[in-house]
């Protein structure tokens, strides 16, 4: 059992890396996508919309395979498997975050922009000091949802043979002819998401001081 836990922790290391790297890039990139989706230039809007539709409309597992094998078949080039995994997750999650950001930005009362303009705030000041803090509060629950999903989605990286938590559990499961490792891995995922949920709870409560 001690050995199993040790193995699972090694797998967890990969899962956690996928998790944080995905968030690190997709949270900001999602904003760029959201801006593209709301662009005044129609072709930019169309292309971003198509990108979002594809990312949301096809299975992540398929996207993982695509980002790993497509470069090989098209350019006869191959690259690091882990890189392909991160690329797929970032592009997928950016699309979801983009839609959350967009809904948050579009739900802002235009009176907030007008009051800022009348008071003489610049556009940038208005965005960073008036709009963004309010949007942040609004979208926090939706972002929390996505982050919880991401924790579970990291298990899909096993498709490309990344030795993350789920893969490790599966391998040791077949080695010892028992489902215990998979069950224990489930407990790991649950604990991670418990921590994620608590984290979002705390942030939400910190922002409770206004409506």
């Amino acid at each position: 059992m001690a050995n199993l836990i040790f193995q699972l922790f090694k797998g967890l290391n990969f899962s956690v890396r996928i998790f944080f790297l995905t968030l690190l890039f997709s949270l900001p990139f999602g904003f760029v996508v959201a801006k593209g989706r709301m662009s005044k230039i129609a072709p930019v809007r169309w292309i971003t919309d198509l990108y979002i539709q594809i990312m949301r409309g096809t299975p992540l597992i398929l996207q993982l395979l695509f980002f790993y094998f497509a470069p090989f078949y098209i350019f006869h080039a191959s690259y690091d498997r882990f890189f392909a995994v991160i690329l797929a997750y970032v592009l997928n999650y950016s699309a979801y975050f983009a839609e959350i950001y967009r809904s948050g930005l579009q739900s802002m009362d235009k009176g907030q922009y007008e009051a800022s303009q009348v008071l003489g705030f610049t556009k940038a000041y208005t965005f960073f000091h008036v709009i963004l803090p309010q949007v942040f509060k609004k979208i926090l629950p939706s972002v929390g949802n996505e982050v919880v999903t991401l924790v579970k989605d990291t298990s899909l990286a096993s498709t490309l043979g990344i030795a993350e938590l789920f893969r490790v559990a599966q391998t040791s499961s077949s080695r010892v002819f028992s489902t215990t490792p998979i069950f224990v891995a489930g407990v790991f995922y649950f604990i991670m998401n418990y921590l994620v949920a608590k984290f979002f709870d705390v942030v939400e409560r910190k922002l409770d001081y206004y409506e």
């Binding site: 009051a115 303009q117 009348v118 008071l119 003489g120 309010q134 001081y209 206004y210 409506e211």
Partner: protein
């Protein structure tokens, strides 16, 4: 002192094919209060939004505080450069119907934020100014509250303080009491009357006929995008010359 604070000539504005303002001209002297009355959709708010640069005019000319904001060139409103527009933006303040306070800032910070970010006042100066205004609005004890903790009347008084903190030379009000209960309306109107006594130049779009009649120096009745009648408020209310104004005023006596 007979400074002309607003000089509007032949202002036109259309949204698509709908003419919202047709040939609006009027002037306002320093220290005077002008009430704009009229039915919904008459163009009052659009006019106010052009005066405060939230909308752009299609044609006509406008001088605020003696400086042009836009001039009529070949039937089109040509705006001044951005520096001039900004300067005039800072000389005008606007109080909205639905307050538009910043919900994530305390009452105090609602009033200090623009002083600091736009006028570059230091923290102490901005806060001292804000506290003075809050005292004047009878809200000193609410400095640390958030807008969601205030009543509508209190919110509107905070938003008046927020506008005044920028030391505007002309203050505009867009139906400042339309979102308020009758008793809250009175406390806001009292504040506006107080400002009138201090000779603040103000333009108030309002449905409060008693205020328009009793507390303004001039009144202007708009309907269908034109100024139907303007003049001394007592005269306007007691002796309306135009049939449309008579009918409009009658709807309030029903």
């Amino acid at each position: 002192m007979n400074d002309i604070m607003i000089n509007a000539k032949n202002i036109m504005k259309s949204f698509g094919s709908t003419e919202v303002l047709k040939d609006i001209s009027f002037t306002l002297e320093k220290g005077h209060v002008l009430s704009i009355i009229g039915p919904s959709g008459s163009g009052k708010s659009t006019l106010l939004r052009i005066l405060t640069q939230l909308e752009t005019a299609d044609a006509g000319s406008l001088e605020l505080v003696g400086k042009p904001l836009f001039t009529n060139v070949d039937g089109k409103a040509v705006y001044e450069n951005i520096a001039q527009r900004r300067e005039l933006n800072l000389k005008t303040g606007l109080v909205f119907q639905n307050f538009n306070l910043f919900p994530h800032f305390s009452v105090l910070r609602n009033i200090t934020e623009a002083q600091r970010a736009v006028l570059k006042r230091d923290k102490d100066e901005a806060e001292a100014k804000a506290m003075d205004l809050l005292k004047k609005m009878n809200l000193a004890d609410k400095a640390k509250s958030y807008p969601c903790e205030l009543s509508g009347g209190q919110k509107q008084r905070v938003s008046i303080a927020r506008a005044l903190a920028m030391d505007p030379e002309i203050l505009f009000f867009d139906e400042p009491t339309s979102a308020l209960d009758p008793e809250l309306t009175l406390e806001v109107l009292k504040v506006i009357r107080g400002l009138a006594e201090e000779k603040m130049t103000m333009v108030v779009v309002t449905h409060e006929m008693n205020f328009a009649k009793g507390s303004s120096d001039e009144a202007l009745f708009m309907d269908g995008g034109v100024i139907v009648e303007k003049g001394n408020p007592t005269e306007l209310f007691d002796n309306p010359k135009e049939e449309r104004l008579r009918r409009f005023l009658n709807t309030f006596n029903a």
